[in-house]
């Protein structure tokens, strides 16, 4: 009996794409937060740490997705995810990255500010995150609505 040759053609998987988008989006959010002084979103308060960390996430995720194992010469030149699938997965990955950033930065904010209270409560929207964590900002917004 002739041996059946199985040809496997590696393609970009949805999971790989999601991990790439998630990591790159966390990096972009950290970079923008550092640039616009949205301290409530930062994992590292000091810019000297925040900038390299965000760039490491962005460059690292691109390297992992495109460069490792010569992927740009192999799987990247094969048909992979459809355009609509890419868009949907990008939204999912970026949304997950946003939730992760809000949760982690809020947790860090809570640990940092134990017992402290913010006096400047006039800002609104994203500007609120210049002075407090996301959790504190949303809590303040809904508290002031009840008052």
């Amino acid at each position: 009996m002739a041996a059946t040759e199985v040809v496997t053609r590696e393609i970009v998987t949805r999971a790989e794409y999601l991990i790439f988008i998630f990591t790159a989006s966390v990096g972009v959010l950290q970079l923008v937060a550092a640039r616009t002084q949205l301290k409530g979103l930062l994992f590292f308060k000091k810019p000297v740490l925040a900038y390299p960390f965000s760039l490491l996430l962005i460059i690292g995720s691109f390297w992992w997705f495109f460069v490792r194992d010569d992927r740009i010469d192999t799987v990247m030149r094969q048909p992979g995810l459809e355009g609509s699938g890419q868009f949907y997965n990008f939204c999912m990955g970026a949304f997950a990255a946003l939730l992760f950033t809000l949760a982690v930065s809020s947790l860090i904010g809570l640990l940092r500010r134990r017992g402290q209270r913010n006096e400047n409560e006039n800002s609104e929207g994203l500007d609120t995150l210049r002075q407090m964590s996301y959790y504190e900002a949303v809590k303040r917004n809904f508290r002031s609505k009840e008052d």
């Binding site: 988008i21 923008v32 937060a33 030149r77 890419q86 917004n141």
Partner: protein
């Protein structure tokens, strides 16, 4: 048009294989993921950029306009593909088969109008409608990806021009008609996002 298309594509494809560095750059730019993800990440960043409420709201409206433009343009491309189609350069000119294998892969989507150009120019033109500076910035990746697809013999230059023109015209439709009609929804969305400290 076919004669001009052929002359341009053969002239550009003559460069393939001459410089390893140029081929490498084109492989990256033509990739299905590199430029689309870069553009999407830039749009994500723009949402959170801006100093002060007014500037940030302008940026966020620009991002919304870009997204709606991309969505509508993609719909128009699908419709156009049903009306007219012609072969890709690598199908019409067999000598280009080697070129595409070096840079990209043989796609099966219709060639005219180019959906690559439609999406990248849709992002740039959508942003431009609300913020000229951001629009011009986005024009860089918007031009590079379609250019690399011509280099790879995936699209004819006229496919790219048609996709870009369609995207630009759609951005005017979105900015002048759709955005004003959808203003209660867009204004409401920004208000809710601001309440949630995300805008």
């Amino acid at each position: 048009m076919t004669g001009i298309d052929e002359r341009i594509i053969l002239w550009i494809n003559d460069l393939v294989g001459k410089s390893a560095a140029l081929d490498r750059i084109m492989i990256w730019l033509a990739s299905d993921y590199f430029i689309p993800v870069t553009i999407s990440l830039i749009l994500l960043a723009i949402w959170f950029l801006g100093q002060g409420t007014a500037e940030r709201e302008n940026y966020q409206r620009a991002v919304i306009c870009a997204f709606i433009t991309i969505g509508f343009t993609s719909g128009f491309i699908l419709a156009a593909n049903h009306i007219y189609s012609h072969p890709h350069p690598f199908e019409a000119l067999p000598e280009l088969k080697a070129t595409i294998a070096q840079i990209f892969y043989e796609i099966h989507d219709p060639a005219f109008p180019s959906n690559t150009a439609a999406v990248t120019f849709g992002a740039a033109a959508g942003l431009w409608q609300k913020n000229r500076k951001l629009g011009y910035l986005m024009l860089i990746p918007a031009v590079l990806m379609p250019l690399s697809k011509i280099y790879a013999a995936v699209y004819w230059p006229s496919d790219i021009v048609a996709g870009a023109v369609l995207a630009i015209l759609t951005s005017f439709l979105i900015s002048w008609v759709v955005m004003p009609l959808a203003e209660p929804m867009i204004g409401g969305l920004i208000k809710v996002m601001r309440k949630l400290c995300l805008a």
